[in-house]
Symmetry: C2
Subunit: 435 residues, 2 copies
């Protein structure tokens, strides 16, 4: 049997303590599957965590001790953030250590540079835990679907946002009410921007897109739209039309470039992914050979994320003495084999749209709207117009359009908004069939 692999863990927050606890419970079985013993050589953490027992372990308050510890083979970065974490990871790589990280921001924003550095030093960076928690989606994209040209992928990759949308649909809550509930349950931060505005999802999306399309990480090119403007009435109207509203990260290969976008999306309720509720995550991947595949599970949580961290540790440990080319490359392909980062401008993205128009209850509104759409080459595929509520002058008109490019749609919407018979802004949400 090969010698034990020596692990250094930096950060003892939720994921760090979860990793220690799972290793304490399942370490014997994990080592048997790995074919070598796993030893926690050192822990770097500014403070202890009462949720795990480190009394038998070597703990330092300076995480950089771990990066320079000659006895550490693998540094597990679980401190989060992109400043100290980046420095820590760089230092560890320069000292010849392999990296396992759960840090989506670090990979999405600095992955290109770090993968390059790792390649120079003959070590690897593993980051299964950075996307969709315990779901083995990185491994599936990078290895399981390696025979495919991925056509597109679409993921519910932020549990907080999915919880809020689920509460809004199931309980008729407003966004603010559902957010407050998520905060009370610890699913959302006091400042929820990162989750509800789609930044967290954008981090995860570019990581998946990079693997699916063998392209460098292009975080600054993602179009990102949050869910804070979704109203419960839109969820209800979507349902009347046979759709659910989900906050999706979508990446798609087109002739003109890759689409990279995070936004609320109407999807047909009969799709499996439309029925992924609460804090759960799921990623739907369409490969040219395999067709549609879906991966579902917990996207966060101490032990769910630890599950991914440990899977990475085992992968790295198994090939510790192997040659670099015998390991799966961090980026899915050697960096020299990556293509460009041509991302399709948002104006050129073509989808159907859900439009909600606040119209005066007068004859002729519908024909005016239809004419405007038609002039832009957009047809109306479905329409809901309920009876006006007594004593209210405005009726909501809900439309599903044919597929249109963003630029034409914007033009139509701005013309609709100038109609005398229409009040305020038109609500618009993209529609994807995912078929």
């Amino acid at each position: 049997m090969p010698r034990a692999v020596r692990i250094g863990i930096c950060g003892l927050g939720t994921v760090g303590s979860g990793t220690l606890n799972v290793l304490a419970r399942n370490g014997r079985e994990v080592a048997a599957r790995c074919g070598r013993a796993l030893v926690i050589e050192q822990i770097g953490a500014r403070r202890d965590n009462p949720n795990c027992d480190t009394s038998q372990l070597s703990v330092t308050r300076d995480i950089f001790d771990v990066a320079s510890n000659p006895s550490v083979d693998i540094l597990v970065e679980l401190i989060g953030g992109t400043t100290v974490a980046k420095e820590l990871v760089r230092t560890a790589i320069e000292n010849g250590k392999h990296i396992v990280t759960a840090n989506k921001a670090l990979i999405a924003e600095h992955g290109n540079e770090l993968f390059e550095l790792a390649a120079q030093h003959g070590v690897t960076i593993a980051y299964e835990a950075a996307v969709a928690g315990g779901i083995p989606i990185i491994k599936s994209l990078r290895e399981g679907l390696v025979g495919n040209q991925v056509q597109w992928l679409a993921g519910i990759i932020n549990g907080t946002g999915n919880y809020i949308l689920t509460e809004m649909r199931e309980k008729g809550r407003s966004f603010d009410q559902a957010l407050a509930q998520a905060q009370a349950l610890g699913y959302a931060e006091a400042d929820p921007t990162f989750d509800v505005e789609g930044i967290d999802a954008a981090h995860k999306l570019v990581i998946m897109a990079s693997l699916a399309f063998a392209m460098p990480l292009a975080f600054d090119k993602v179009y990102t739209e949050g869910i804070s403007r979704i109203c419960s009435e839109d969820i209800r109207y979507a349902e009347e039309l046979g759709y659910r509203i989900k906050h999706l990260g979508i990446a798609r290969r087109t002739d003109k470039g890759v689409e990279l976008r995070v936004h609320p999306t109407l999807i047909p309720e009969r799709r499996l992914i439309a029925n992924v509720n609460g804090v759960m995550n799921a990623v739907l991947v369409e490969g040219d050979a395999v067709g549609p595949t879906l991966y579902y599970g917990a996207g966060a949580g101490d032990e769910a994320t630890a599950s991914a961290v440990i899977a990475d540790i085992v992968d790295v440990a198994r090939t510790l003495e192997a040659k670099p080319e015998q390991r799966v490359p961090a980026a899915g392909v050697a960096l020299a084999e990556q293509g460009g980062t041509q991302v399709l401008p948002e104006e050129d993205v073509i989808t159907s749209y859900y439009l909600r128009i606040a119209a005066h209850d007068k004859p002729g509104v519908m024909s005016q709207v239809a004419t405007i759409c038609s002039d832009q080459g957009i047809s109306i595929e479905a329409l809901i117009q309920h009876e006006p509520v007594a004593a209210e002058a405005l009726v909501p008109v809900v439309i599903l359009t044919s597929r249109a490019d963003e630029a034409s749609l914007r033009l139509a919407v701005s013309q609709i908004e100038t109609l005398d018979t229409v009040e305020g802004e038109v609500v618009r949400i993209r529609v994807e069939s995912l078929g």
Copy 2:
């Protein structure tokens, strides 16, 4: 760059031709991801297949030529069956070749022996394509979830059966009608026994259970019950109770042994897996760290299965020159680390049950049934008794029971069947919450 890996493909049926076609289309990208060129050195097939082009390839009519060809590194076995295929694989292993196979029967029934032989010769056997077609479930169980103790798994792993049950539910068809439809569409064989009686599912189940529980393959210990006795009225009553009927393969870890069973099962319709329809497959895996995860996709088809074959080829190719311990072991752990094959006898399996009783429309039936159940420690959790159809003396009484062991349930059912007020056999189907 390492030298090209040389592949020998035996069998040019659906999967063989699909593999050639996908490699012809995506070979360049696959090679880039693999880090080495892939060359099809030789094909062994008794006849050509008009669905793929072999004009530029070396084809032999004797598949054993491939097993003895010194230029072949990996033999891809796609001939099916367990006699010639076994001899072919044994010969190839003895000649130092790695094996990639889509043959579930071969692995389920002879895997223990073949893994042993492969270990002796320092080669590996990869079989992602043997379970659930293109879904990377083998990789997920063996690598992605390596940090977990899997508690249980439940899979829709036979597309033919799932198609039939879906047609019965959605269109109110009888089993015979749905089967005829499946045969007309090419989803079912002329002799459908293998699919509808659960033998195919049992093959796949033991392979997954072996990996999940690090146990030898135990095909002869699976309890198997088919779907040919499911009536459309049972599907309808299940729906009234909030359930779907699915043909599941279930493996569960218990203190007394592993449950291994394939049978029709009522599952709550709100579960994601209850909404997997048509020929699609899905596997739900509950790990102690990650919680529930689900993997969904096409369980059969030329290119979907080819996707899994190619993923295996790349895994083997990448570690061609690696040491055996640097590869993921075929059985998930070294054979010496496997536990026993203690399988829980079917009599000791505890689940809830759906019972349908044909009763005379007389007072007292319900109290008699309730007393019998109660005497066996079984309580009634839900009940449907519709008005009797005019001019019919028998009314269907449908019951969901509390959890009970098979032995107690059998006793209760046999007593119910002897009641004067009850006609014929009691229909019984297991119920699983999968929660």
